[in-house]
């Protein structure tokens, strides 16, 4: 059962210097009870996809396509309808946990916020719920934790607070936008399993957006790889990490520490660079004339989707 279906999503930013295409023709599905990882480098547009789902993009963004969630096209909802959705049916956690929390309110107040807004709980009850949530996030002393302020907690603790707050109302979909950026390996090893467990217990599906393949590998069911605004490969996690098809995916796996830190030559195009044909061809060892001229379509190989001419059997 598909929980979220993105079809033909395009996002363009209108600037003084011209239009910038951040996301080009993205289609993907997130099913019930699964974790889908969207892997890509900084600047490929993956955060834009997350923000598009929740309509959090700045005023100069132009969107087209459909995003179906529970049979409703999210792109057609107005702000009030979206606001009632956010935090309740779809929740999101951002990159920098310390910045996402308001420094002048206590942790208890902020974790209890979804209850007060969506379920009209009073202060006392929302505080109670906050305490139990924090306990489940493996905080040792939830009673004192709720009275503390964000600056008294470390980055890792704040991230756990945010996860707690996001899962408070048991959303159907949890979006995590680079939740482990800037954290030590140790902390990542603490938070990721927690995220996984929590999602299984409280939410239905997790949309994990990250550049870190090891994190994706640990908890995802399916993988989508994004490059320069396009999705270039989609597969189940086990298949992907065993046999990635797209040259870029192969390059990514090659640059992992365990595979010897082999870099992909060249650099990722920024959104303002224009590249004809296949976006990856300047860095691809396999590229031929066709790749330089034409844009590859999506090819289906044994349940894996690849956007690469190499797999054109036609």
């Amino acid at each position: 059962m598909s929980l979220l279906t993105i079809e033909g999503l395009e996002v363009t930013f209108e600037n003084l210097t011209g239009n910038v295409r951040a996301v080009q023709n993205i289609s993907l599905q997130i099913h019930d009870q699964e974790t889908m990882a969207l892997i890509g480098e900084t600047g490929c547009g993956k955060s834009v996809v997350a923000q598009a789902i929740l309509q959090l993009l700045p005023g100069n963004a132009r969107l087209s396509g459909t995003i179906l969630f529970n049979n409703r096209n999210l792109l057609q909802l107005n702000e009030r309808e979206m606001a009632s959705l956010r935090g309740k049916e779809i929740a999101i956690i951002f990159q920098n946990p310390s910045l996402a929390l308001n420094p002048v309110y206590t942790i208890g107040w902020q974790v209890g916020e979804p209850f007060r807004i969506h379920q009209n709980f009073d202060r006392k009850r929302s505080l109670q719920e906050a305490r139990s949530l924090l306990a489940q996030m493996k905080f040792e002393k939830p009673h004192s934790a709720v009275k503390m302020y964000p600056f008294e907690f470390s980055g890792g603790m704040n991230q756990r607070v945010l996860i707690a707050s996001a899962l408070a109302l048991h959303p159907l979909l949890l979006i995590a936008d680079e939740p482990t950026r800037g954290l030590d390996r140790e902390l990542i090893d603490e938070i990721i399993p927690l995220l996984d467990l929590s999602r299984k217990k409280y939410a239905s599906s997790l949309f994990l957006i990250t550049h870190d393949l090891t994190v994706a590998r640990e908890i995802s069911d399916r993988i989508s790889v994004m490059y320069s605004g396009e999705i270039i490969e989609q597969a189940s996690a086990s298949v992907f990490f065993h046999k990635p098809l797209h040259p870029y995916s192969q390059g990514l796996l090659g640059s992992l520490p365990e595979n010897g830190f082999h870099p992909i030559p060249g650099h990722s195009p920024s959104m303002i660079d224009f590249i004809a044909g296949c976006q990856f061809h300047p860095r691809c060892s396999w590229a031929n004339d066709r790749c330089r001229r034409e844009k590859p379509g999506e090819y289906l190989i044994d349940g894996q989707r690849v956007r690469c001419f190499r797999y054109d059997r036609g």
Binding site: L16, G43, P58, G59, N60, S270
Partner: protein, 283 residues
Amino acid sequence: MKRYVLNRRKYLWWFGGALFLFFIILAVFSSSIAPYHPRERFEPFVSPSQKHLWGTNDIGNDIFSEFVYGSRVSLLVGLFTGALSTSLGVVIGLIAGFHSGFFDEVLMGLTDVVLMIPRIPLIIVLSAFLRPNMWLLILVMSILWWTSTARVIRSRTMQIRAMSFVESARCLGFSNRHIVFSEVLPNIFMVVIPEFLLTVASAMISETSLSFLGLGDPSLKSWGTMIHFAFQRGGFLNGMWWWYIPPGLGITFFVMSIVFLSFSFEEGEFELKEEVKDVSFNN
């Protein structure tokens, strides 16, 4: 949300800018715009008529001409005070923010002391002992008005100093002098401009108020002086609104235009960043 901010900034800039430009033209081209010399005497207490757009005052000067020439005084006092006190504030703020510790403590202590001095009363007291004079006023105001600028600049300097590129510069071997002028200063520039504009506005209002109290330079006819004489010589009592309303509105709108400009600059800080990079790389 961003759309709204973008538009508001534009409105502030255009409206404030246009109004400001209007007054600048008034001040610079006074001799061409004013029909008569402000000290030329005609029949006193004339109501607005064809010959005298806004009538004449108690000694027969054409009020419209007085108004036009009065803009010069406000502008001069404002600009000079703004320039001097902002310079002083920037220097003090930079030194305090850049060299924390001893210098910071001393300079901030000095700032606190100056802040405690009641500004207008001090000027009033000084006027009692010295002949009121525009340059004296500018000097005294410059010595008192720099404190808010110093604090803001100090804050910003401390922020910048903590950034990696300043440490990088130190590591590469640049002298402190280079770092302050070449690395720090360009990053505080956008903060200096609103401070300057607000100081100008504040100085203009102060000058007008002091002139209204009769402590202004008697040889110059500022708007405040006009209102002062309107008050003293029966303009209020006789309902001669064309005498005191124009200068009152004049100072109000002149100051308002400056404040709007300074607001548009504060919002403009974000705008400039958008133009410099085509799109945020971390999207």
